[in-house]
């Protein structure tokens, strides 16, 4: 480099042009993609949120004046007076999402540790077998359970005999069917992050515990389980949030009797159009979703999980 560039003032301006060149390069590479996302997702979402504040026109279209009426509808007020229906739908969706997360946790832990206990050569194959069903289409996966849970199926007869459901009715459509469908659909999403955490487990802690004569259960809870918590949290987010807003499972297995918020929102756009009300419901759904994500970020920062290669 010449002496001119070594001069302090020149160096300052060289740095500035360097920074400008960098900024330009950033714009030209990442710019198109970011612009695309802004134009085709962020802008539409903002429009959707905005529509939640409009009045409803004759055929469900939004138009001025602005109003909070859609939010009153979300709270349950309708032309028939107040009904708890909406609150039930939201609560039901929350409960379904959390139960799905809980059930997948119960099912995932044994599988994860079973895989981890195998010789390393076998592990990817066993993990693949868990993941493969999730590569099939969600509609197909849910359809599979429609077969298994209709009123004339073996499982339904079993449930009838055991008194879980009234005679002649099927498990499908129903709340239990939705629960099974959600758990089945999202189980692999719990297994993968748990496995990622379990594979990096530091077993020396277990060994130390054993040296101190700790019992099996104690060993698990104090030496093993805490190390899986980052994976557990990821899994909870990957299961609960999509399960909360799922559309396919409640529509096919829930049968329209016990609605979840996804089906309710969709019907405001596809069946009896009422765009402002649908938009207001969506805002609520997003509030819950974002709330969950914030909780996740706070907890994972607390537990110091690495955010390594995250953009």
């Amino acid at each position: 480099m010449s002496a001119i560039a070594e001069h302090p003032a020149a160096k300052g301006s060289a740095e500035r042009t360097e920074r400008a060149a960098r900024a330009w390069r950033l714009w030209i590479t990442a710019g198109p993609g970011l612009f695309w996302i802004i134009l085709f997702l962020i802008l539409p979402s903002l429009i959707l949120l905005g529509i939640g504040f409009f009045s409803i026109g004759n055929y469900g279209n939004p138009h001025l004046p602005l109003t909070l009426e859609p939010f009153r509808e979300v709270a349950g007020y309708s032309i028939l007076g107040w009904s708890p229906g909406n609150i039930e739908v939201i609560l039901r969706s929350l409960v379904q999402a959390i139960s799905a997360a809980g059930l997948t946790i119960l099912l995932a832990y044994p599988v994860v540790f079973f895989i981890v206990a195998q010789p390393p050569a076998l592990r990817p194959l066993l993990l693949l077998f868990v993941i493969l069903p999730s590569w099939t289409n969600q509609v197909v996966r849910t359809y599979a359970w429609m077969e298994l849970l209709g009123p004339d199926s073996a499982l339904s007869h079993l449930a009838q005999a055991a008194g879980f459901i009234p005679a002649h009715l099927g498990l499908m459509p129903g709340i239990l069917a939705m629960q099974i469908g959600l758990t089945y659909n999202y189980l692999p999403y719990m297994v993968v992050p748990l496995y990622a955490a379990a594979e990096k487990l530091d077993w020396s802690l277990v060994e130390a515990g054993r040296d101190l004569y700790a019992s099996g259960a104690r060993l698990f809870w104090s030496a093993v389980f805490p190390q899986t918590i980052p994976g557990l949290l990821s899994g909870i987010i990957l299961v609960a949030i999509p399960a909360f807003g799922d559309y396919v499972v409640p529509t096919l297995l829930g049968g329209g009797k016990s609605m979840m918020i996804g089906a309710l929102i969709a019907s405001q756009f596809l069946q009896t159009p009422n765009w402002p009300y649908g938009a207001a419901l969506t805002i609520f759904m997003l509030i819950f979703t974002c709330g969950g994500l914030i909780v996740f970020r706070v907890m994972s920062r607390r537990l110091g999980s690495s955010e390594g290669s995250m953009i």
Partner: protein, 364 residues
């Protein structure tokens, strides 16, 4: 600086990828009208036979591309999203026609282009839902009623009480019709004594409360549209539901539901006409007129009804209809016709009120 051969290859690769991307995106853009005429038909599923389509293709020297929808609200939604410039012929139900006219989605018809209009039976001309047949032509007609599984429930009265009275059906799974809600609300109104064509807000509210009570019963499985309801009855998923007479006739015909029955409640139920209409900005309206005229011809009309087993509004096709179409299932007796009603057209604020009530009923 001379570009070494490898970079040239990479540059060509990059350029061809970009070209491919743009080409891919453009391939997905709506195609310019294909050389050689194409009729874009938007219809219910299984409503026109493949043989009849082929006959029309031979007649017009064109290709027919058919897309399907499963409810009138889906049709309206897709038309509003741009479908009104993508299809030549659509098939809305009679009670939806006023709404489509009001929203400016279908075009006024020039009856000079449809000479076979004279083939229609008199009672289907100049209907209340479309005075002077300005916007639509009848396609098929039928009734809405109660479908049920004879193996589960032996005998039922011809009444809406079958659905709304818990004493008549305490245990077996049943469903009500979903969709736009006009049929279910009409049924509730009829059961309460207001008549199937009730039109007052206070009556609607009472009907809505009855439906809400019905939803709470433990053997209520949900809201199902007419075609799927028959499918569910066949499978035994439900024992009683609301469905259309043609669906029942079809499965009698292919012997897949011989243990099912169909009844028309005496308090009043729906007679409907599905119609053909041309969307406002149809790509080829002339072809649309040609298709409508073809369907209204005697031979095509007969073949159409013999396939989908619904009633034909075509008087000229009468002699060629199969014997199934002459049974009371498809051709109700004159006594039954007395309690069959067209759904009154709803538009504007009245429709808004109805929709608000129906939405409130649906969220549980």
């Amino acid at each position: 600086m001379k570009i070494p051969p490898r970079s040239a290859r990479k540059l060509t690769l990059a350029a061809s990828m970009i070209a491919a991307a743009l080409g891919g995106l453009m391939a997905m853009a709506p195609p310019a009208q294909a050389a050689g005429k194409t009729l874009y038909l938007f219809n219910w599923q299984d409503y026109i036979g493949k043989g009849l389509i082929k006959k029309y293709e031979a007649h017009c020297g064109c290709k027919v591309v058919q897309t399907y929808y499963d409810s009138n609200s889906a049709l309206a939604a897709k038309l509003k999203a741009g479908g009104d410039s993508q299809f030549d012929v659509v098939v809305p139900s009679s009670y939806y026609v006023p709404q489509l006219i009001h929203e400016g989605l279908i075009a006024k018809l020039n009856k000079a282009e449809i000479p076979n209009f004279r083939n229609l039976a008199a009672q289907f001309k100049n209907p209340t839902y479309d005075p002077h047949d300005d916007y639509s032509m009848p396609y098929q007609w039928g009734t809405t009623g109660i479908g049920y599984l004879k193996t589960k429930i032996a005998s039922l009265p011809e009444s809406w009480a079958v659905l709304f009275d818990p004493k008549l059906n305490p245990d077996y799974p049943f469903a009500l019709m979903g969709g736009s809600g006009r049929d279910t609300m009409g049924a509730a109104c009829a059961y309460l004594g207001y008549g199937f064509t009730c039109n007052k807000k206070s009556q609607w509210i009472k009907a809505a409360k009855l439906i809400e009570k019905t939803e709470k019963r433990k053997n209520f499985t949900g809201f199902v549209d007419g075609d799927p309801a028959m499918g569910q009855i066949k499978k035994g998923t439900i024992a009683i539901g609301m469905t259309f007479n043609g669906d029942v006739a079809e499965c009698y015909d292919d012997k897949s539901c011989l243990n099912s029955g169909y009844l028309l409640p005496k308090q009043g139920t729906e007679i409907w006409v599905d119609t053909m209409a041309i969307p406002k900005h149809a790509p080829d309206p002339k072809l649309g007129y040609d298709f409508i005229n073809f369907i209204l011809s005697a031979k095509a009309g007969a073949e159409l009804s013999n396939f989908n087993l619904y009633g034909s509004p075509n008087a000229a096709a009468g002699p060629m209809l199969s014997k199934e179409l002459k049974t009371p299932l498809i051709k109700p007796t004159s006594a039954q016709m007395k309690y069959l009603h067209f759904l009154p057209p709803l538009a504007g604020t009245k429709l808004q009120t109805f929709n608000a009530i129906w939405t409130a009923v649906r969220q549980h």
